[in-house]
């Protein structure tokens, strides 16, 4: 039933978004959280790309002198995906650098362990 509303790619995109979102929310390990974030973003990008695709048309690059827009797919979603990828890469870079800083200080990637370490420190004081 759901395939009547959405194409296969869009269903896959929403499933990917769900997987990534839950990983980002529930995984304890920071690296796994970041992987989840990237899966979530990829889901959105797949959704965008499949939205811009129109069956039977070509990539929006002028070939053989055909200039009519009817022959090409919508190029805007592709532009949005590119912008989105740039944003996603920079966010990942910042998060990875924070992760490195956290690991150097606490020698663990598990956020629960970090809380416990901080609690122990407070009690020692």
């Amino acid at each position: 039933m759901i395939t009547e509303l959405l194409s296969n790619e869009e269903v896959a995109a929403i499933v990917l978004f769900g997987i990534g979102f839950t990983m980002l929310l529930f995984q304890k390990n920071l690296i796994k959280k970041l992987i989840g974030m990237n899966i979530m973003d990829s889901g959105v990008f797949l959704f965008l790309a499949s939205m811009g695709y129109i069956g039977g048309r070509k990539a929006p690059i002028v070939t053989d002198g055909i200039a009519e827009a009817e022959n090409y797919i919508n190029p805007l979603p592709a532009g949005l995906v590119l912008t989105g990828i740039v944003v996603s890469v920079s966010v990942t870079a910042v998060m990875l650098s924070l992760t490195i800083r956290l690991y150097r200080r606490f020698h663990t990637l598990d956020l629960d362990n970090v809380y416990e370490l901080l609690k122990q420190k407070a009690e020692e004081k």
């Binding site: 974030m37 944003v87 924070l98």
Partner: protein, 498 residues
């Protein structure tokens, strides 16, 4: 005068450029440069406000001369100018007021990086205020998040790293949802500029009512932005993030970053969805209930804490609840009250965040209430500033907090629903009472003589503290006494929104 039409773009581009410049400047020079630059931005925003309110119209600035459905646009009307002015002014005061602590909190060689981040944050904030393109909104939303996170980790202790990671994870969840909402809206309307989107949505709604996919898109987008701005139940990152970061960063985060997201949400509601369509969606009632719950929970948590920074952070959560309750009414009065409260709360909170470190300094670095006794007497400047901020938060007449509570009351009466009226009035009453309890308790504590503690008096006056606090107090009183002027500007601005 037509030259002023370029100001919105200039403000954004110059802020980006300043961000790059501050990476290269030495420590002191980057501070002086940032302060001068923020003064310039304030003047530009003021000129823009005068221009738009005199001509009484808004204007769009087409980037690269591509006309409407294709190009990217910046739009400036009265509301945008008021908020650009308010945001830049608060930024100026927060940066100046917290500078003294920055040197102690960070590695001295990295102070200029903080100012680089502040300038990038300004650019992102101004873009959120001015943009007319919803995807540009998303891009600058992420830049704002990254820059804010950077200002938190500038103070290099383990706790800020942890706080920044928690902050980022919640914000990333929010951004992901916001992006999905934007993409769904694009799927429905086929446009990214706000006016054409609004046109298509009105057409769809008049033909086939509020279709489920539209409601879902709006709901996803709303959840994303409310996670990012810290609406209950997503507010638990606030105490750590605000409490451990350097005072300037705490002031900027609580009074500007979260407010920038809310301003974008209001803009999308008024300009893309339209209030009439919005009223038919369930998202309004959800926002109203979460807002009211946030008011109650935030106030109770603020009352139960033992730490002055945590108290102020939780009180922020309660104030965010007010704003969302106003938005949840989905009426024009509700939006006006929410917008006014954004300004009122931002002015007050930034003042409290740059005052508290001085109080705790006067108490020998303590942050727990018991040890703060008498700190308001030892450092009278900070004591008086805290009292003014506290009075405004409680909502005592002549201060800004009173005017916004009055506006919420009026909006609730005009909402036309007795149940909503009762709930909002109840929340206003309970929260004002709780606010009064925990702020007056703190005031009594800091103004009670502590006896002989061996701590030094603080006779010195710091211009870097007094000037921003005096400016913020003046604006606070202006908002309280002449709230009519500001609400009239906002009303006129909202009228030209669609």
């Amino acid at each position: 005068m037509d030259f002023i039409r370029n100001f919105p773009l200039f403000m954004i581009i110059l802020s980006l450029f300043s961000g790059a410049l501050c990476f290269m400047l030495p420590r002191k020079a980057s501070f002086v440069y940032t302060v001068c630059f923020e003064c310039l931005l304030t003047a530009m925003a003021a000129a823009l406000l005068v221009f738009t309110s005199q001509t009484g119209s808004s204007f769009t600035y087409t980037m690269g001369e591509f006309p409407a459905p294709w190009g990217n646009e910046i739009r400036a009307g009265i509301t945008e100018s008021v908020f650009a002015l308010g945001f830049v002014f608060i930024l100026l005061c927060s940066v100046t007021g917290g500078y003294r602590y920055l040197n102690g909190d960070t590695d001295p060689t990295k102070v200029n990086l903080f100012f680089a981040l502040v300038n990038l944050l300004t650019a992102a904030l101004l873009s959120l205020v001015f943009t007319n393109d919803i995807f540009t909104g998303y891009v600058f939303l992420e830049i704002l998040t990254l820059a804010s996170c950077g200002t938190v980790v500038v103070r290099e202790i383990g706790k800020t790293t942890l706080a920044a990671i928690r902050y980022m994870i919640l914000n990333l969840l929010g951004s992901g949802l916001f992006l999905l909402g934007v993409v769904l809206l694009y799927d429905i309307t086929g446009n990214l500029l706000m006016e054409p989107m609004h046109g298509v949505i009105t057409e769809i709604v008049s033909e086939s009512g509020v279709i489920p996919s539209l409601s879902i898109a709006v709901a996803i987008l709303t959840i994303g932005l409310s996670i990012k701005s810290g609406l209950f139940p997503f507010h638990y990152w606030m105490p750590d993030t605000y409490g451990f970061s350097t005072p300037s960063a705490a002031a900027i985060l609580s009074s500007l970053t979260s407010k920038g997201y809310i301003f974008l949400l209001i803009k999308i509601y008024c300009r893309v969805i339209g209030l009439d369509t919005l009223r038919q969606m369930p998202v309004c009632d959800v926002l109203l209930s979460l807002g009211l719950l946030g008011i109650a929970v935030g106030s109770v948590q603020a009352m139960h804490t033992n730490n002055i920074n945590t108290m102020i952070a939780f009180s922020s959560a309660a104030q965010i609840g007010y704003i969302f309750a106003g938005i949840g009414l989905c009426t024009e009065d509700g939006m006006i009250a929410a917008l006014f409260h954004i300004l009122a709360h931002a002015m007050t909170k930034s003042m409290l965040f740059i005052t508290v470190p001085r109080l705790s300094e006067a108490a020998g670095g303590a942050k727990v209430f018991r040890d703060l006794q008498g700190s308001g007497i030892r450092d009278k400047d900070a004591g008086v500033a805290f009292a003014i901020g506290a009075f405004s938060m409680i909502g005592i007449p002549i201060f800004a907090g009173f005017a916004s509570k009055l506006l919420f009351g009026i909006a609730a009466i005009d909402s036309g629903s007795n149940f909503k009226l009762t709930m909002i009035m109840l929340a206003l009453a309970v929260s004002s009472m709780l606010n009064a309890i925990y702020f007056i308790r703190t005031l009594i504590r800091i103004f009670t003589p502590a006896g002989d503690t061996g701590l030094m008096e603080h006779p010195r006056h710091h211009a870097g503290f007094l000037i921003p606090v005096a400016l913020l107090t003046a604006v606070n009183l202006f908002l309280g006494l002449f709230s009519g002027v500001v609400t009239e500007l906002i009303t006129r601005g909202l009228a030209m929104f669609p």
